[in-house]
């Protein structure tokens, strides 16, 4: 047990969770008090002692599933007796089902004998009644039947998942459930009811998906061993996910992570402003306070400096690959716009357009970003990035508005499609502005390769930062204010 736990904690550390030695000991201590056969309690005991941030829960869960997927009676797997057990469970279920409503005539036949249609029918029933045991059984059978898993085959779990789900046709089942709900209500549902029913159906279908995933994982672990599996499943924590290569799921997680982050950042920056270094002696206030000490100025008072808030001009490339990055940065900058006296946003691909008005008067930043993507006039010739032309336009139209209090942020990978760079614009800007920074979402090692000319622009900037994930973005914003 101790060995297993040690391996588990090792894996957590490798996944990026900060687990200290004391926490390790706490976990050992905690499981002494927990009945080991209770898998849920065991999981919570480990979580409470090892995971100290809600953002890390997901990573913990994955590792836990891999390491402890084969424990517990109902989780036995693989060999023939487990199959028999499954069969038995199925039989029980089916006969139970038969007694209940008398419709499923094939009771006792076992799962192997089921035709695909019958299996689909069972899935539908399981989902309709939210019968957990049955959903699990169907999921297992589906994996067995459709995934076509072969020992030692070097394919990722997602491949099997896709194969299984394609055969299960969950969307179809959801539709059927909706039909059934409509029938039950006697005709049409109001939009509200429709929505609620659909929510429920979707949740159950996600549940099936998770069961299928879990089953595939169990089989893979049995095939490849715990360590190898944990390695393939290791995913970066949300704050480390690369903007440019985030999958759709990671993107949603990123969005979720962004909101608390901006809130934290805003609080921290406001504090920093307030608690900044002390200023010169405030004579008036000192004398005023000396009265309570009988005229002795025992407690000197200082003036707190109120540093001028910077003005921010964000100039972002929103073409294809870097669009996500630009969106996140814009969102972040606007979320903390209270820290700046003025924020103006410009987006470009090969043309350039000001989008400040989209953000002003719009409470919902997502909505604003959506409008930026659909309404901004950013294409000039062909819709391929042209930094040179965009910068030229910026200088021509807005250059005179850049003043000594302005900080200019340029976002993009500086992949210019071999157009002319027009880097003199940046040189000019730097003369006028307080700072000019360039944020590049590409890894540093890719800079100045191919058509990337970030080096040429860099010579004229106050700083060029690699900004690939939320962590780096957060750090930069702190530098900024």
């Amino acid at each position: 047990m101790i060995d297993l736990l040690a391996g588990f904690i090792q894996e957590l550390r490798r996944a990026g969770l900060p687990v200290s030695l004391t926490e390790d000991l706490d976990a050992m201590e905690a499981i002494k008090h927990i009945p080991l056969e209770d898998r849920e309690a065991f999981k919570y005991a480990l979580a409470a002692t090892l995971v100290k941030s809600a953002a890390h829960w997901k990573a913990f869960e994955t590792v836990f599933e891999v390491y402890f997927s084969m424990r517990g009676r109902e989780y036995t797997i693989g060999d023939s007796n487990a199959d028999a057990e499954l069969q038995q469970l199925m039989d029980e279920l089916q006969s139970g089902e038969g007694e209940q409503d008398g419709t499923s005539g094939e009771g006792g036949g076992g799962m192997e004998a089921l035709t695909p249609e019958e299996l689909a029918e069972m899935l539908y029933k399981a989902m309709l009644n939210a019968d957990e045991a049955m959903m699990r059984a169907v999921a297992r059978q589906a994996v067995k039947r459709f995934a076509g898993m072969e020992p030692g085959r070097p394919v990722g779990g997602t491949y099997y998942l896709y194969r299984t789900l394609r055969n299960l046709d969950l969307d179809g089942v959801v539709e059927r459930m909706m039909e059934a709900a409509r029938e039950q209500a006697g005709g049409e549902l109001t939009p509200l009811e429709e929505r609620l029913e659909r929510d429920e159906a979707e949740i159950r279908s996600t549940h099936i998906k998770q069961e299928v995933e879990a089953e595939i994982r169990r089989r893979l672990v049995a095939d490849r061993g715990v360590d190898a599996m944990a390695r393939t499943l290791r995913k970066p924590l949300p704050e480390d996910v690369d903007f440019m290569h985030a999958s759709r799921e990671e993107m949603t997680n990123l969005k979720k992570a962004l909101q608390p982050l901006t809130r934290k950042l805003a609080v921290r920056l406001a504090r920093k402003r307030r608690h900044g270094r002390k200023g010169s002696l405030d004579f008036r206030s000192t004398v005023r306070h000396s009265l309570s000490y009988g005229g002795v100025p025992a407690e000197p008072k200082f003036k707190y400096p109120r540093p001028a808030k910077p003005e921010i001009f964000v100039v972002a490339d929103i073409s294809g690959s870097v669009a996500a990055f630009a969106r996140f940065t814009l969102q972040l900058v606007y979320a903390i716009s209270g820290q700046f006296s003025k924020v103006r946003a410009f987006v470009f691909i090969d043309g350039l357009d000001e989008v400040t008005s989209f953000f002003e008067g719009e409470e919902d930043i997502n909505q604003a970003v959506h409008r930026v993507n659909t309404e901004a006039d950013v294409v000039w010739v062909d819709g391929h990035s042209d930094y040179g032309h965009a910068l030229e336009v910026f200088h021509e139209r807005y250059g005179h508005e850049v003043g000594p209090r302005t900080t200019v942020l340029l976002l993009g990978d500086a992949r210019n499609n071999y157009h002319s760079s027009q880097s003199w614009v940046i040189k000019e800007l730097r003369h006028k502005a307080r700072h000019v920074y360039w944020l590049n979402p590409e890894p540093r090692s890719y800079w100045d390769t191919g058509d990337s000319i970030v080096g040429e622009y860099a010579t004229h900037c106050d700083g060029v930062y690699e900004c690939r994930n939320l962590r780096q973005l957060e750090r930069f914003v702190e530098v900024l204010t």
């Binding site: 900060p18 200290s20 004391t22 926490e23 706490d26 201590e29 905690a30 008090h33 927990i34 209770d38 849920e40 309690a41 919570y44 005991a45 979580a47 409470a48 002692t49 995971v51 100290k52 941030s53 809600a54 829960w57 109001t190 939009p191 509200l192 429709e194 929505r195 609620l196 659909r198 929510d199 429920e200 969005k255 608390p260 809130r263 934290k264 609080v267 921290r268 504090r271 409470e363 919902d364 997502n366």
Partner: protein, 299 residues
């Protein structure tokens, strides 16, 4: 050492007896905290019953609840202890007035005096010290610990790991009994590693459908099963929409109470949108939710 709870299910039943509906995770962590004698750091969105958990645990264990509300600028003298300067001054004054100011005794009196004015009588206990010194069982609630500065967090460390307070003039005061300690955080900043390491971590999220329904049923008088179910479903649906502030459990309860007062048995779309302002507190959120609820939610 006597433990407060026998098993995880026992915690759960006890909590539900005082109308706090926990789940496996919450009950498990409370049980562990008792066994391991460790504080619990409770984190989660606002209005999910973090503070209520501490209150309920105090109630079931029959303990007194001592609460320390954290805020920016909280310091030692408000959290731990303070010397009662005014009383000390008075004491010195009295000493002088009684008139034994002979040169010969000066040394002796000084020692006596300093021993005297730094004694229990002149000590003002603040919540943390009070929790340590209490002879009766107590539950210590340190609320919104993320509001204090990082440096102030250090004040808590000694108490949290060793259940003791060191006062230079008096020595170390250890707890006569180990209190249960809850720290709550709204996650406005990252707490220090040192603090997190000393605590068990519990994340309380919005409850799932069944639990929320149960909560509505137990907390709101005169609500029917059918209505509670509908309320829970609609709230869950609203939480899936991207909003500035998702409705919390307490807002769900307010909404349920309103609906009961209005005598509504089955919520239709119009009634839902008319009363949305109880669930949601931003104009843009209300507009968005209204729009979303009117559509069937097909993807």
């Amino acid at each position: 050492m006597a433990f407060r709870f026998d098993s995880v299910p026992a915690v759960r039943t006890a909590l539900s007896d005082v109308n706090y509906l926990s789940d496996e995770g919450i009950a498990g962590v409370v049980y562990l905290a008792d066994r391991l004698q460790k504080p619990i750091l409770v984190e989660g969105p606002a209005g999910t019953g973090k503070t209520q958990l501490a209150k309920s645990v105090a109630e079931i264990t029959g303990s007194r609840l001592i609460r320390l509300q954290c805020y920016e600028g909280l310091d030692e003298s408000k959290a731990l202890y303070e010397w009662n300067y005014k009383k000390q001054l008075l004491r010195i004054q009295t000493e002088r007035n009684t008139g034994n100011s002979g040169e010969a005794q000066a040394d002796g009196t000084w020692k006596e005096l300093s021993d005297d004015i730094f004694s229990d009588e002149f000590l003002l206990t603040r919540p943390l010290l009070e929790a340590i010194r209490a002879p009766d069982p107590v539950v210590l609630l340190i609320d919104e610990v993320d509001r204090v500065e990082v440096e102030t967090e250090a004040l808590l460390l000694e108490i949290l790991s060793d259940y003791q307070v060191s006062i230079p003039e008096l020595g170390t005061i250890s707890a006569s009994q180990i209190p249960m300690v809850f720290l709550t955080s709204n996650n406005t900043r990252e707490l220090s590693e040192a603090l997190k390491r000393r605590c068990l971590f519990l994340h309380i999220d919005y409850p799932d459908l069944d639990r929320e329904k149960e909560i509505v049923l137990t907390k709101v008088e005169g609500v029917s099963e059918h209505l509670a179910d509908q309320i829970a479903r609609i709230v869950r649906s609203i939480r899936t929409i991207e909003l500035k502030k998702s409705p919390s459990v307490s807002e769900t309860l307010d909404w349920a109470r309103t609906l009961v007062l209005l005598g509504i048995e089955t919520i239709d779309a119009q009634q839902a949108t008319e009363t949305l302002h109880i669930l949601l507190k931003y104009k843009s959120d209300i507009a968005k939710a209204t729009k979303e609820l009117a559509t069937a939610g097909a993807k």
